[in-house]
């Protein structure tokens, strides 16, 4: 894990960020780690157009899918690729693209996969004037696929207002019961004095 490797990864990884306009995809196939590429190819092979590989680094893969397909792909990942639990569910607000990205960091306790993290990202429509739960900011819940996302999705709901359909328990988790403001992790929620 020396830092030279990190640097090479940095140079070698292919990263498309939401804010960037330059989609200069210079694929340096040689620098890509082999095992991770195979994993990504398995996904590409099965789903083809439905998924988009964001980047492949050492031990890290990020794939981007549409929200209609996420349950299907997640089921495939959990059953066939043995990623058995979710480490984190992160919601990221992009006001300029008018969407909220939700990233599932999926990990595995299988011996050969245990250093891998597969980030499965999807995005929901963002409303400028949110009413959490009853607006268009909705995503299908992965709770039936990965049992461990239950609390993470609850947290994502209250922090960003992303309602997870078919989630059994979409209640508030961390915020006070009388929270009446917009969800706090949205970018238009300003904290004191900033």
């Amino acid at each position: 894990m020396s830092n030279t490797q990190n640097k090479s990864n940095l140079n070698g990884d292919v990263h498309i960020h939401k804010n960037t306009d330059s989609n200069s995809i210079d694929k340096k196939e040689d620098d890509r780690p082999e095992f991770e590429t195979n994993l990504a190819n398995t996904l590409l092979h099965n789903f083809g157009e439905k998924i988009k590989i964001d980047f492949i680094k050492k031990n890290r893969i990020k794939v981007n899918v549409q929200k209609e397909n996420i349950v299907e792909i997640a089921k495939f990942i959990s059953l066939n690729m043995k990623f058995d639990h979710a480490e984190a569910v992160t919601g990221i607000d992009y006001p300029e693209q008018n969407e909220i990205e939700v990233v599932y960091h999926l990990g595995s306790y299988e011996d050969n996969l245990s250093n891998q993290i597969l980030a499965l990202s999807t995005s929901a429509i963002r409303e400028d004037d949110p009413t959490p739960g009853s607006d268009r900011t909705k995503l299908p819940s992965l709770r039936n696929v990965f049992y461990s996302v239950e609390f993470h999705e609850r947290e994502c709901f209250e922090m960003l207002g992303v309602y997870f359909e078919n989630h059994p328990d979409n209640r508030r988790l961390l915020l006070p019961e009388d929270w009446a403001d917009i969800p706090p992790l949205r970018k238009d929620f300003k904290i004191k004095g900033r």
Binding site: L175, P176, F189, I191, K192
Partner: protein, 171 residues
């Protein structure tokens, strides 16, 4: 004249005079004694609010041992306690509960605000869910600064509270 004095409506004058005498006779020594008792028997209520509780736990541990001052390790029911040590940040979810705990405790009760977060909000001055200090929630007796305060500082705060109780009028 005498008949006027023993009229029932004047009886309360006698009672109050007697009361004054009794207060003068009993209040002072008893007040001293009771204040002395309160100084050496400050039982903290078991309420942790944030990360300063780690140092509070360390303060009741073997090296610092607040039991030397009669402050036993936080225990049991709040009905028997008389000291709230607000151990750090008070969030908006916690504040009503903290007030509820304070209201349920029997008089006399004292409050120590432990840590910068409990005093002004500290590091979290701009957080959306943190109260800027607990002055709006509880009447604070002693502020113990630090983030988190060392156990020695907490002990010093307790000793300051003891000094303060000494100067209080016992009820």
């Amino acid at each position: 004249m005498l008949k006027d004095l023993v009229m029932p409506q004047n009886a309360n004058v006698f009672v109050s005079k007697l009361g004054d005498i009794l207060v003068k006779a009993i209040d002072q020594p008893l007040g001293y004694a009771i204040n002395w008792g309160r100084i050496w028997s400050l039982w903290p209520v078991h309420i942790e609010t944030a990360c300063c509780s780690v140092e509070f736990g360390a303060a009741s541990g073997p090296r610092y041992d607040v039991e030397r001052f009669g402050i036993i390790e936080a225990f049991g029911s709040l009905r028997q306690c008389d000291l709230v040590v607000v151990q750090g940040t008070i969030t908006r979810k916690m504040a009503p509960r903290l007030r509820l705990v304070y209201d349920q405790m029997p008089d006399p009760k004292y409050v120590i605000a432990m840590g910068a977060c409990a005093i002004t909000g500290g590091l979290y001055f701009d957080s959306y869910n943190v109260l800027p200090g607990i002055d709006g929630v509880l009447p604070v007796d002693v502020y113990v600064p630090g983030c988190p305060p060392r156990p020695e500082t907490l002990i010093q705060g307790c000793m300051l509270l003891q000094e303060k109780i000494k100067c209080m009028k016992a009820r």
